[in-house]
């Protein structure tokens, strides 16, 4: 699912609520018949969130940052042939987080989020400000996650980034409306401007 919306429309707030970072005034987040807003343990198990910023411990290496989320065995396995290998995290394992480039930091953050093998991956502008090669690498990883049966909920301003989404939604006036992207940027801008 791709979510579009003007600045300040509440896209990030919606993701934070779904991730359990913010507490909603009301409503439900149903997954397999269970309200994930009420069950923190189930939500922590099923949902992973990649925020706009990079949630890293800056003074520690990439490997140390991964250790916070992965068990030792799972970490080695993923670095060997799993998602971390796919994201290319093994290339900068020993580098301190503060010395990583924007693309590397984002790949590391996504790698951390995927540690628990979640069913739902919430992404807040995951490839903003990244170069095309890095973008492509990350989007390929998301595609694989989707192919494996995972649910991607992605907030973005970039239609190219949202192309992999089956379901486009426009957040307008606090409501999520179904949206069909025609491929015309001008029409999209017009729709975003309407409040």
């Amino acid at each position: 699912m791709g979510i579009l919306g003007a600045n300040g429309s509440g896209k990030t707030t919606l993701l934070k609520i779904m991730a359990g970072v913010l507490r909603p005034d009301g409503g439900r987040f149903l997954w397999q018949g269970e309200d994930l807003l009420r069950s923190a343990a189930r939500r922590a198990e099923a949902v992973a969130y990649v925020p706009q910023g990079t949630p890293l411990i800056e003074e520690l290496s990439a490997r140390d940052n991964l250790r916070l989320w992965y068990s030792p065995e799972a970490l080695e396995c993923s670095l060997d042939s799993g998602v971390l290998r796919q994201l290319g995290v093994d290339e900068f394992l020993k580098t301190t987080a503060s010395r990583l480039s924007g693309g590397m930091r984002k790949r590391l953050s996504i790698g951390c989020a995927l540690a628990r093998d979640p069913a739902i991956l919430l992404l807040d502008e995951p490839t903003a400000a990244l170069d095309l090669v890095c973008k492509e690498r990350i989007l390929r990883c998301f595609e694989d996650f989707r192919q494996a049966g995972g649910l991607l909920v992605m907030v973005s301003h970039d239609p190219w980034e949202l192309e992999m989404c089956d379901d486009w939604r426009l957040l307008r006036g606090g409501l999520l409306e179904s949206y069909t992207y025609t491929g015309e940027r001008r029409a999209l801008i017009r729709d975003l401007e309407q409040v």
Partner: protein, 408 residues
């Protein structure tokens, strides 16, 4: 629990990476603190053990009695070790006072000694550098008033006795009586060592001055040292806190893990600082009577007994960094907190000199509670109750702040 342990371990690793830099800052701060301690305790020794305060004497110094009296003061009187009288003219004295070379000067009026002989008093003018707001000037003023009253009343008594002898004791020479009284006055009253009784301030009645300043300087050092830990707090990721909260590691757990790693870092620094302090104390020959003879074991047990204060000060610093949110704001808060609290708690100046209200307020502050606990530790008394309360309060407040930040 597993995440908490892993997070704690990683925070510890993060803290240890900053250890070399912090130890360097510790070294610098310890040297600065030691210098401050030396100035505070007035232990800048000259070869006689004390450096005398220089007082200028101007005006009429030509009279034989005054010149003789000055000579006696300089060569015989025991005050020569603490006061040095320097004859100079008034203009020279004024300049020397402005340059800070003398603490003050006295102007002796024309015919002072002659007037004394016939029972008249011509006031001596004493000029000091301060407008009278500081403690030194107040003490000087009080001393001048006391001595003036003493001289005047004694003169009255001597001349009164002379008159009484002349009127009611025929056959006795009233002037000889007067002379004898003057001699008694010189022997019994103008004996500098009996002019005043130095009463020790309240803080020092229970603790020696070096021990008091050891507590004060250690506490000030502890509070200021947190500034070197700013990178540890400035580099924290807010996003990480939010994610951890969503993943089940609650704010209280995050605060606890970060606090414990910070505490360990502080303890490492404290051990280094304590070792350095031991070397400096020995180098400058400063003896702490409460620790004499106890050796390394005594110092170690003192460090252990001061642990509650260390825990509390760390929690206070953690809370201040949490409150400020960033490194720069945190450093400013730490500095202000250390200076203001340190002053009110009597780290830089014995609190017993403060007005009652101010002193009581200082005792209520975290630093005041820490100071009381450290003094108690040196005396082998337990005074840690308020320290534990502050510790719990700061940790709770930090957890609440973190919770609020994670939810924003």
């Amino acid at each position: 629990m597993k995440t908490l342990l892993t997070y704690g371990r990683l925070q510890l690793r993060r803290a240890l990476r900053l250890l070399p830099r912090m130890l360097a800052v510790t070294l610098l701060l310890a040297v600065l603190t030691a210098m401050a301690a030396l100035l505070l305790s007035g232990l800048r020794d000259d070869e006689d053990g004390r450096e005398p305060v220089r007082i200028g004497l101007a005006g009429n110094l030509e009279e034989a009695d005054i010149a003789e009296g000055l000579e006696l003061l300089k060569s015989i009187d025991s005050s020569r070790f603490s006061l040095s009288f320097e004859p100079m003219d008034e203009a020279e004295a004024a300049q020397a006072l402005r340059r800070g070379e003398i603490a003050g000067y006295a102007v002796i009026p024309e015919g002072f000694a002659e007037a004394l002989m016939i029972g008249e008093t011509r006031p001596v003018t004493y000029v000091s550098a301060s407008g009278g707001a500081d403690l030194g000037a107040k003490l000087t003023r009080d001393l001048v008033e006391t001595v003036s009253a003493l001289v005047l009343e004694t003169e009255n008594a001597v001349y009164g006795a002379q008159d009484l002898t002349a009127d009611f004791v025929p056959g006795r020479n009233p002037y000889r009586v007067g002379d004898r009284l003057v001699v008694q006055y010189a022997v019994r009253i103008i004996d500098r060592s009996r002019l005043f009784h130095l009463e020790k301030a309240e803080a020092e009645q229970t603790l020696s001055l070096p021990a008091y300043y050891l507590c004060g300087v250690s506490l000030a050092f502890l509070m200021l040292w947190s500034i070197s830990c700013a990178p540890l707090f400035a580099g924290r990721s807010r996003e990480l806190g939010k994610l951890l909260q969503a993943s089940g590691l609650r704010s209280a757990g995050q605060v606890l893990a970060e606090y414990l790693s910070y505490l360990l870092l502080m303890l490492c620094g404290l051990l280094a600082a304590a070792a350095l302090a031991g070397v400096l104390l020995r180098r400058f020959g400063i003896a702490v009577p409460e620790l004499e003879g106890s050796g390394l074991r005594g110092a170690a047990s003192l460090l252990l007994s001061a642990l509650p204060t260390v825990l509390m000060i760390c929690a206070l610093q953690f809370f201040l960094y949490e409150l400020a949110g960033g490194g720069v704001g945190g450093v400013l808060l730490q500095f202000l907190s250390a200076v203001v609290q340190g002053y009110l708690a009597g780290c830089f100046y014995p609190a017993s000199f403060f007005p009652e209200g101010m002193r009581r307020f200082g005792e209520l502050l975290p630093a005041g509670a820490g100071m009381a606990q450290m003094k108690g530790a040196l005396l082998g008394e337990g005074a840690a109750g308020p320290v534990w309360l502050w510790l719990a309060g700061f940790l709770l407040l930090s957890a609440l702040l973190r919770f609020r930040r994670n939810r924003s």
